[in-house]
């Protein structure tokens, strides 16, 4: 932040003002003179604030560290041009044999290869030119020694032309990563080894990004995506770089056409071979891929589980139906038996009751007979009729229990008066209960 300039002057020091080291603290800021607020985490100055706050730096410390970091960045940029050691054999190369040379190695960027940016190639070229310029060699007494310089120029020409660079990258064997062997796979990490191989192969892809190989935790979708991508791989790899030299026009035209045809066929063949190679690589990889096996097993397990569940459910339903049916039959049978038993027992009881009633009635009738129809001497038929009529009447009006009770009362009695008293009492009770009318009773009137 720019410092502001204030034109209005400061006051002069009053007479007699003195303090230790010329500084006199008077007040201070307190908690009360500040409000807690939230600053918006936005903007370059906030980033600086956050950096200071997180690393607990003061303003001046932060300024210093930032300055140091910036300075270091510049250095690193200069350093980043790797100076690979130059192979003395490479320096002996003939320029006309440029097709066989490793352009990246000539420029000293062999560790980047197809990943090298245009910027890096340009810088590497400049560096090499400064070192190997023929004029410099001439100054050292070696005139006409421009062979390696030509190599450098050729390498730059190839690498800075995107079309030519692709042609060279297509056949750059140094960039190739061989698929892992069985022995390697047995010892190493399957995923690491293969993903290295596919990463290298991905440089030929026309579409980016190329899906990653992933690891054992990758989802089914990702794995399928990966294999789909690679089985439909769209490669820009060409084999023009390996063409035989086509003779000039002014030589034999037929010869030229023949070579051209041969080249075209060779390219086609190599391309087909390359496709076959990639396909084989993929087959090998997918054959050993534990994830695919696992997904298949999981899918099967899921399918089986569903089937088994369905079967179990069906079986269970069937069993339940059977059990229900059996239970029903059993219940019906039991009910039937019970009903039969009930019928029999009630029949017996009824018969018993009937016999009891008969017996009791006999007792009643017997009682009046025992009492000689409540007269002394021979009873007239009219009297007998009247008494028996009353007995019949009473018997008809009362229910079997009362008959039994009455019979109980009468059974032990022999004296005519007592028997009569019982009868009269009974008749009285019936009259009181309104079952028998007074007028109907002839003999047992009190």
């Amino acid at each position: 932040m720019a410092t502001t300039l204030v034109q209005q002057p400061l006051p002069t020091l009053p007479e007699g003002w003195a303090a230790e080291k010329d500084f006199k603290p008077i007040g201070s800021l307190t908690k009360a003179s500040a409000t807690q607020r939230t600053i918006e985490p936005v903007g370059p100055h906030f980033l600086a604030h956050a950096r200071r706050a997180r690393h607990k730096r003061t303003f001046s410390e932060d300024d210093r560290i930032q300055a140091q970091e910036r300075a270091k960045n510049v250095e690193e940029e200069n350093e980043s041009d790797i100076s690979e050691p130059e192979d003395p054999m490479m320096l002996q190369r003939e320029a006309k044999d440029w097709k066989a040379q490793d352009h990246y190695k000539v420029l000293g960027i062999s560790k980047y290869r197809y990943k090298a940016t245009e910027e890096q190639i340009k810088r590497a070229h400049r560096k090499k030119v400064l070192k190997h310029h023929p004029d410099k060699k001439a100054a050292a007494g070696r005139t006409e020694d421009d062979n390696f310089f030509k190599c450098i120029q050729k390498a730059t020409e190839v690498l800075l032309d995107p079309v030519k660079r692709r042609q060279f990258d297509s056949v750059d064997e140094e960039a190739e990563v061989e698929p892992p062997t069985k022995k390697q796979l047995a010892n190493g990490n399957f995923y690491k080894l293969w993903s290295k191989c596919f990463k290298a192969e991905a440089r030929f892809s026309k579409t980016h990004p190329v899906p990653a190989f992933g690891d054992e935790k990758s989802s089914k979708e990702d794995v399928e995506n990966f294999y789909n991508f690679w089985y439909n791989f769209d490669s820009w790899r060409t084999f023009e770089y390996l063409d035989e030299d086509v003779p000039d026009d002014n030589e034999n035209r037929d010869q030229k056409r023949h070579v051209e045809r041969k080249n075209a066929n060779a390219r086609k063949k190599k391309k087909a071979e390359d496709n076959a190679r990639l396909r084989k690589m993929l087959d090998d990889c997918s054959a050993g891929d534990e994830r695919i096996k696992r997904f298949r097993q999981e899918a099967n397990a899921a399918k089986n589980r569903k089937r088994l569940e369905k079967e179990a459910a069906e079986k269970k339903a069937l069993e339940e139906a059977q059990a229900a049916k059996e239970a029903e039959a059993k219940a019906a049978k039991e009910a039937e038996e019970k009903a039969k038993l009930d019928r029999e027992s009630s029949k017996k009881a009824k018969e018993a009751a009937k016999t009891a009633v008969k017996k009791n009635k006999r007792v009643l009738r017997g009682s009046v007979k025992d009492a000689n129809y409540f007269v002394s001497g021979d009873a007239s038929p009219a009297t007998i009729d009247a008494v028996l009529g009353d007995v019949e009447l009473v018997q008809a009006k009362v229910d079997p229990e009362e008959i039994a009770a009455l019979a109980g009362k009468l059974s032990g009695l022999k004296v005519a008066d007592e028997i009569k008293a019982v009868w009269e009492q009974e008749v009285q009770r019936l009259i009181a209960a309104g079952k028998v009318k007074d007028s109907e009773i002839k003999a047992f009137k009190a």
């Binding site: 300039l5 002057p9 006051p11 020091l13 010329d22 903007g43 906030f46 956050a50 303003f59 990758s218």
Partner: protein, 572 residues
């Protein structure tokens, strides 16, 4: 893959953009060489209406979808941003009247639309999150096509009153669209950032009022910008005064005009006529922001009758007066809420589509003092297009933080880092005017977040010698000087021509002339005194004040160009 989705791409693989996901319009912006640029989508729009429409299983968005509001309103979803993360009970569905209606599905807001091909296709019920995901996906696709690189990450702006639930709903919607959200930043701050990032801008301590006047809502915030750090002091949110209120004014105007010619036919009563009317009125409103006259014409507006008319800006400003005044009141109220005065405001940033309207900016010129910069297209030629401000701010923030790991960003935006004390009173030095009066020179402005460091260079007395440096707290108050009360006559005259709308607008102005209001610094408690001895003739003294996070103050004073100096600390 699922793992990488949560942690986001590595900083080196990121392509980050800024997104303004608005309720009415959205924008996307990217940075090229540290300059933010708003990206035009396939249709060439920089303001992309936040609308999705489905016709025969085809998905349309933006301007194309907006056109379907007339013909296919029930399968068109509009104005859904504000529903994110809210329950059905708390939403305001007014604006959705002419499009798919929000529905309550287990408390979440949803829309039922036919988004599949075929006459009798089952309509699907989409939650508002799903709709947002689909819309964001379209925005990202547009940006990806424009940039030629897969857009992986974004900074999205949100209103200041977006709750945590709404934020997490937005994050979920963005993640579902395969978009890593680097940060959600609040809208007013994005606008301030867009202005501060201009190369000609200087970092200053200033109070900024950011008025975002949008289509369905207006949000105004007072932001203290202190050394490039922003603190929101107060906000107001309003759902009455907005772009659609202005549309309503024009709709009513033209509907009445139509009814004058064709008695008994009210185009507002038919849904399709109303949609056509609204669509054209919006265009007319935009035209009136640029020119003083605008044509209005709709084919087959109602009952097959074509309608054409014109309107001039004066008429528009007359019929929309209540709305325009509403905006002004809104801005005044937020300043009051922040406990400030219009004199404290250094800058007013108008943002959002409605800010193009010249009347709004002109009204603000009248209420603010001449020293306040009103940044709107009609008052300031260097103003940034207000519709693009937020997206630019978001893009700038995205370019700043895209190189950081997601964890780093999280840590830096943690409350422990962002919540800091702000000093309430200014800290400054005392200087003397020519008449010998002590005046306060603010060095650290009030509402500055600590730790803070400011330096000021003050002239020494002309004769040089020993000078006293007195560090004090200070605050402002508004001094009102009233002239002679002679205004009686003129006021009566004003009442007479009150029906003339022009005179109404100039009311504030004439009152301003009557009483003079000034901001004056008052010296508060003295904090420290120091002496710098033997200053040269015509020399200057550099004073730097450093307030630590624990409110301890360090004062350093030295003569410019001299060695040594005084240094002292006041512990908190």
């Amino acid at each position: 893959m699922s793992e990488t989705r949560t942690s986001g791409p590595a900083p080196a693989d990121r392509t980050a953009i800024g997104i303004t996901f608005g309720n009415s319009n959205s924008s996307i912006a990217s940075t090229v060489d540290d300059k933010a640029e708003v990206i035009a989508n396939e249709d060439g729009d920089r303001q992309i209406p936040t609308i999705l429409s489905y016709v025969d299983g085809e998905e349309y968005y933006g301007q194309q979808a907006k056109a379907f509001l007339v013909r296919n309103p029930q399968n068109t979803v509009a104005y859904f941003r504000d529903f994110l993360g809210k329950d059905f009970k708390s939403i305001d569905p007014t604006h959705n009247h002419a499009s798919a209606h929000p529905q309550d599905v287990n408390g979440t807001v949803s829309f039922t639309i036919k988004d599949k091909e075929g006459e009798d296709a089952e309509p699907s019920t989409l939650s508002v999150e799903e709709v947002s995901t689909r819309f964001l996906r379209r925005l990202v696709t547009s940006a990806t096509e424009y940039l030629g690189k897969k857009v992986t990450s974004a900074v999205i702006t949100v209103p200041t009153n977006f709750s945590d639930k709404q934020k997490s709903a937005l994050l979920a919607a963005a993640n579902a669209a395969d978009l890593e959200v680097l940060q959600l930043i609040s809208e007013p701050v994005a606008a301030v950032l867009a202005y501060d990032a201009r190369p000609e801008a200087e970092v200053q301590d200033k109070i900024v009022v950011v008025a975002e006047l949008g289509g369905t809502r207006s949000d105004v915030a007072v932001v203290a910008s202190r050394g490039g750090m922003y603190t929101v002091l107060a906000t107001v949110h309003d759902y009455e005064f907005n772009g659609s209120a202005l549309d309503k004014v024009l709709i009513d105007h033209f509907a009445k005009e139509f009814m004058k010619k064709h008695a008994g036919v009210d185009p507002r009563e038919n849904a399709r006529s109303l949609a056509k009317l609204k669509f054209e009125c919006e265009a007319t409103k935009k035209a009136l922001s640029i020119g003083v006259n605008a044509a209005f014409s709709v084919e087959s507006l109602a009952e097959g009758i074509d309608f054409a008319s014109t309107i001039n800006r004066l008429r528009y400003e007359t019929i929309g007066r209540t709305v325009f005044e509403g905006f002004t009141r809104l801005i005044e109220s937020v300043i009051k809420k922040a406990g400030l005065d219009v004199l404290d405001v250094d800058e007013v940033i108008l943002s959002g589509g409605t800010s193009h309207t010249p009347r709004i900016a002109n009204n603000l010129v009248n209420i603010f003092p001449a020293t306040t910069t009103i940044l709107a297209p009609s008052t300031n030629t260097t103003a940034v297009n207000p519709s693009e401000l937020l997206a630019r701010g978001a893009a700038l923030q995205a370019s700043l933080i895209q190189e950081y790991e997601a964890a780093d960003i999280d840590q830096s935006t943690h409350a422990a880092v962002t919540t800091v004390p702000h000093i309430t009173n200014a800290i400054g030095v005392i200087s003397v005017s020519e008449s010998g009066e002590e005046t306060f020179v603010p060095v650290i402005a009030p509402e500055t977040a600590v730790p803070a460091r400011r330096t000021v260079v003050v002239a020494a007395p002309k004769a040089g010698g020993d000078v006293l440096i007195k560090i004090a707290e200070g605050n402002t108050h508004i001094k009102v000087t009233k002239p002679e009360p002679k205004a009686n006559g003129s006021k009566a005259a004003k009442v007479e021509d009150a029906d003339d709308s022009d005179a109404d607008f100039s009311d504030d102005e004439s009152e301003d002339e009557e009483e003079k209001r000034e901001k004056v610094w008052k010296i508060g408690a003295t904090l420290a005194e120091a002496a710098v001895r033997g200053v040269k003739k015509g020399g200057k003294v550099e004073i730097s004040i450093n307030v630590n996070a624990d409110l301890a103050v360090t004062v350093t004073a030295r003569e410019v160009g001299a060695k040594g100096g005084v240094r002292g600390t006041l512990s908190a």
